[in-house]
């Protein structure tokens, strides 16, 4: 009787955008100096005290997706205020990006969001191409679209794995990983690597699709839907799972927009905003797909949105296979792309050219540009300033996880510890991208 009927809509509708503007103690954000809070619990616990307790979650905690650290102000098991503390994986990639040429830049950015590396490469390549004012051949664009959607599937599978794990369904970790592994097998066959592919580069993609790619990807697409249906059986209809996620971590559209939140969190609130449809890039305007939206903006909606988006991606990849044109897989522009491998053996000029393009890079006209795409976590933007040289003057990645992280304190207010875990995983931050 009580296990099945929890109100899931009451909390969501009551909230308003005002709470995200608060700046004093009434805010959900615990604005304290985290350096005063010891990592190890050296503080004496007074069992009779009823004052709020400061609890440190992370940076090495099983459910913080790497190295996120949360400082929680708690009353019993209830969270009053909280603050995500980040930077434990700060890699200085934006600084390193200034040292690498535009051609080498994708090697750098692909290590940011390690759950969906191809998107990072794509956004950097798009920015560089926009600065260069070039257009890549249609086949390259289709390949990019297809590979990114495959990557989206693998990223969402990783979410399913960790989300299931975090609410206690330990087998989901393995089921999710199994699906991801199948997707990675395709990515490895095409790009040569399981992760950090450096496949999408300014001017096209690194290599053409391998022989038999149609059969491989087609086989994957045939295999995935029944396995995704198994997720439905195991989780979506599972009463305990619904209990754990429904009505938890609710946030509404106004708050999302004020906080600059994008991606499945925004769509989970019922607001259909997807850059693939609304500001199409690559070949998304020629593809037929749906934008998935939720209705309550709670953890369950975000889970459902991601699961449905994986299905949409399968649809998109199918269309990509059908529509894949023949032609060049990269721009035949001597200025940007290296000569074909076969020519290097024949021609000294080609060898020199190959050498120069990889050591010196190519000059990019002066200017600045902001390009954004829809990554599995939201709007992934790249702001590049070129001073006319072969290295970016400034390379900044607008990481969706970094901005989405700001919703956490608001979602967590008045939640229990168990909800905190569900909320972290439903935001699905990738700390490599947050900290860069």
């Amino acid at each position: 009787m009580t296990l099945l009927d929890t109100p899931s809509d009451s909390a969501a509708s009551a909230a308003s955008a005002k709470r995200v503007f608060l700046r004093d103690e009434t805010s959900a954000v615990l604005r304290v100096d985290e350096s005063n809070i010891p990592l190890a619990e050296t503080v004496d616990i007074d069992p009779m005290s009823t004052a709020p307790m400061i609890v440190n979650m992370g940076p090495v905690h099983p459910s913080t997706h790497g190295v996120l650290r949360l400082v929680l102000e708690m009353q019993g098991e209830q969270v009053l205020r909280s603050k995500p503390v980040i930077g434990y994986l700060h890699t200085g990639m934006e600084k390193t990006g200034e040292q690498l040429s535009f051609l080498q830049g994708t090697t750098n950015v692909t290590r940011m969001d390690y759950a969906s590396p191809l998107f990072n490469e794509l956004v950097f390549s798009l920015a560089t191409e926009k600065l260069l004012n070039i257009e890549v051949p249609p086949r390259a664009q289709w390949i990019r679209t297809m590979m990114c959607e495959l990557n989206r599937i693998s990223s969402h599978m990783l979410f399913q794995a960790t989300n299931g794990m975090d609410v206690g369904a330990v087998s989901m970790m393995l089921y999710g990983n199994r699906l991801r592994e199948e997707t990675l097998r395709i990515l490895e066959k095409v790009t040569g690597l399981r992760m950090n592919h450096n496949y999408i580069r300014p001017g096209g993609v690194a290599v053409d699709l391998p022989d038999g790619w149609r059969e491989d990807i087609g086989g994957l697409l045939d295999m995935l839907p029944p396995l995704l249906d198994e997720f439905d059986q195991l989780l979506t209809g599972q009463p305990i799972f619904r209990e754990r996620l429904q009505g938890v971590g609710a946030i509404n559209t106004e708050e999302c927009l004020a906080l600059g939140v994008t991606g499945p969190i925004l769509r989970g609130t019922g607001y259909a905003w997807d850059l693939r449809r609304d500001m199409p890039y690559l070949k998304y305007d020629e593809l037929d797909f749906d934008v998935i939206v939720g209705s309550y903006g709670d953890c369950f909606d975000r889970y459902a949105v991601r699961l449905a988006e994986a299905r949409e991606s399968i649809r998109i990849v199918r269309q990509c296979i059908e529509k894949m044109p023949t032609g060049d897989y990269r721009l035949q522009d001597k200025k940007v792309t290296p000569p074909p491998r076969a020519r290097i053996d024949e021609s000294m000029e080609a060898l020199i050219h190959h050498f120069k393009i990889f050591t010196e890079g190519f000059k990019v006209p002066e200017g600045e540009v902001y390009v954004s795409i829809e990554s599995p976590r939201g709007e992934l933007g790249c702001y590049v300033v070129s001073d006319g040289g072969s290295h970016p003057h400034r390379m900044h990645i607008r990481a969706p996880s970094f901005v989405n992280l700001q919703t956490m304190p608001h979602m967590m207010q008045d939640a229990l510890v168990a909800d905190v875990v569900a909320i972290i995983s439903s935001v699905d931050p990738v700390l490599g991208e947050v900290d860069r």
Binding site: Y88, L89, G92, A115
Partner: protein
């Protein structure tokens, strides 16, 4: 005279009696038993950092199945963990935390440095990244790759198993004063904490 694999040279046995046996077969060293069990029951600490952590998760997945080595029991509490797999780049901000986790682990403990970033800083030779985790904690096995595939990690684990079984590590720790009974020096003038041993 033929040679029997388990016992040794039969001529010598005939001559010297039991003294001719290559080794005891009724008794054995308890050290062998302990090393055997340590190698087969390595519990890793849940310590994921970056890209490599995802591959570490994949190693635990169905395709690679780290459970074959009895290692699927990732321990969230460092007290119960035996091996720390440093999976990914270690930032300057993370370094003290990493050392603290290592200190919280109980002897005997081992460290696998997974990936080039953990081993040497990798491609990120800049202000933010510790250039090699061995500046902070003693590393036993380095797994190369960016990120190392699950096969590489499994190979590192098997290598560590062999090192544990061959007893090398315990000797090394004895030599450099490791092991139980050490004290941890505190930062900013706090008193050193004696580690309480119950046995």
């Amino acid at each position: 005279m033929p040679r029997i694999p388990i016992l040794g040279d039969t001529a010598e046995i005939a001559e010297k009696g039991l003294g001719g046996l290559e080794h005891n077969f009724l008794t054995a060293r308890i050290e062998d038993l302990v090393n055997w069990s340590r190698a087969r029951s390595l519990m890793p600490a849940t310590f994921g950092l970056a890209c490599c952590a995802i591959e570490m998760m994949a190693t635990g997945g169905s395709h690679y199945d780290i459970a074959r080595f009895g290692m699927e029991t990732f321990r969230a509490s460092p007290r119960q963990a035996d091996v720390m797999i440093v999976s990914g780049r270690v930032s300057q901000k993370m370094a003290p935390v990493l050392r603290q986790i290592y200190d919280q682990m109980m002897e005997p403990k081992w460290v696998i440095s997974m990936g080039v970033c953990a081993s040497s800083g990798g491609m990120f030779n800049n202000y933010a990244i510790v250039q090699g985790v061995d500046q902070i904690v003693p590393v036993d096995v380095y797994a190369p790759g960016c990120p190392p595939g699950p096969e590489t990690l499994l190979h590192a684990i098997v290598t560590l198993h062999k090192m544990i079984e061959s007893d090398e590590l315990v000797k090394r720790r004895d030599a450099n004063g490791g092991g139980a009974g050490v004290t941890v020096e505190q930062r900013d003038g706090q008193t050193a904490t004696q580690i309480v041993l119950s046995r």
